[in-house]
Symmetry: C3
Subunit: 235 residues, 3 copies
Amino acid sequence: MNQLLTSVATDELLASALGTLRIVLEYLGTVAFAVSGAVAASRRRMDLVGAVVLASLVAVGGGTMRDLLLRQPVFWIENPTLVLVAVATALAIAPVARRRDIGALARHRIVEYSDAAGLAIFVVIGTGIALDAGASPVAAMIVGVANGVGGGILRDLFAAQVPEVFWNGQLYATAALAGAVTLWALWALRLPAEVVFWVPLLVIVLLRVLSLTRGWGVPSVAVVQKRELQTESHA
Amino acid sequence: MNQLLTSVATDELLASALGTLRIVLEYLGTVAFAVSGAVAASRRRMDLVGAVVLASLVAVGGGTMRDLLLRQPVFWIENPTLVLVAVATALAIAPVARRRDIGALARHRIVEYSDAAGLAIFVVIGTGIALDAGASPVAAMIVGVANGVGGGILRDLFAAQVPEVFWNGQLYATAALAGAVTLWALWALRLPAEVVFWVPLLVIVLLRVLSLTRGWGVPSVAVVQKRELQTESHA
Amino acid sequence: MNQLLTSVATDELLASALGTLRIVLEYLGTVAFAVSGAVAASRRRMDLVGAVVLASLVAVGGGTMRDLLLRQPVFWIENPTLVLVAVATALAIAPVARRRDIGALARHRIVEYSDAAGLAIFVVIGTGIALDAGASPVAAMIVGVANGVGGGILRDLFAAQVPEVFWNGQLYATAALAGAVTLWALWALRLPAEVVFWVPLLVIVLLRVLSLTRGWGVPSVAVVQKRELQTESHA
């Protein structure tokens, strides 16, 4: 019995630690998403309003899409904490944004890995909520991927650019989809909630890291023209 | 009585044939819409992710708008068949998409006529659902037109281009509106459901064909500048 | 008692006059918003369809965002009057739109002040509805600002341009936010409905006028490059 209690205590400690880690990842991802919004605003020569709005859009745009598609209350209407985190991030970055190194910030490894954490956690949360809401597996995966990548797509739309996730050839939406499929499979196997949550999350982070460090990616569908080797830049 | 039975049988045969035709048109339209999405992705130099997303957006974007505006369950959350048809279309086209003739595919007569079928059926379904949901006639027509043209508008937005339906001068949204008005009039006259469904559908297809073959269209509202005869191309 | 009756009569007259003024401002704002949509359509060389759609989008896009975010019936589904006002405005402007002075129209003082009235009234209505719907104060302000500026943002998105409100450095979204904050403060103080409605409205109009006449604004977050004095134009 003593052993059992210890075991329970350990389980509770683990659960508590994982719960804390989950919240840390959620905030980390929100900040990274907001950074990418503020950087995009700076690159497109926006003003402070644009920076704050774009940062917020990246942070909560995907979750808003999820809630609208599932006809659930939009999560930030009742509790706008994550919006405020995004606004604070944008305001903190604004003073440095006029300097030239803002672009480097978005490509900094810390930001890229935080973004991977944000992508992973939002996809997992989105897919889980969709399955709980009774969505079909395919729809749940779509909603989960939209939860993860929707904010970045809105950021690019509002910057009047083709969403980067559609052309950069990296594993991004694909990593999100792999995580969503994994989550559905584990969920269908009725594995414990901890497994259903953390394994897909690790799958997404791993695929992102492999894409960033090893160049893993998806093929282009661009029309290949004969002499365009030197003009491969995206319009 | 024998005659009556025959008559009933014929009616049932007709109803069954029309029902099958309706489903055929819906799939045909979905494939044509998906083709236009995949072609747009290829032209904008996207990767496979962009092609799949754009194809799906064109196919189900209009219906999603309709359901959100009417506060009804989003149709593909429960049954994602049409999403899968669009994804399959995009994947089937991808291998040929890197070749130069992809643009020709989108302008192929079969694709253009299938697109007309898709436009017609989605407008009719959308307007009908909106009227059934108690929308005012004007709102029902708007929702129906959005159901038909919304997907293509989203495709162009995600390709960072001015939606083609807003500037190409063809009868497209106008054809959709004419069909929606016709549907409302027939519906208000309490004509049989078959008439309310098929007559507006034919009106839309006919107007599209007249626009494609005879050049029927709507006037431009572009600012005319003095010496721009040679620079009429759309930015 | 005679005095009381007179007082009541005066109050009723005032209330009636303010109610009429509110409706006048709402229509004035709708027309001004629609003008900006039709002008944007003309500048982007669209056809009549684009002009009508863009005019309607600016007029009712913000309110539609509000209703979707708050999960309330979309206001124009039941009563499409404001959509029809926008469509009529676009059709009335179309004949002059092909002439060169259409741009001057949008910058005409009457249109700019009517636009300020529209912004003010839509922000006040949106924030009020959101608070009534039980949104948190921060969310209510966001919804209110979206109600006011959302239509213009959609207009620019559909014209494939970076939304002007994100980069023009004027007090626009900021004026809207100041009005929304004011409204929330007065509402939290349980002041009379007339005060809660009209004071924030005047705040927004005043800030807009100061921005238009005195150049009050918000700072840019654009990356400043060394030799770009001559290339400051927005891409």
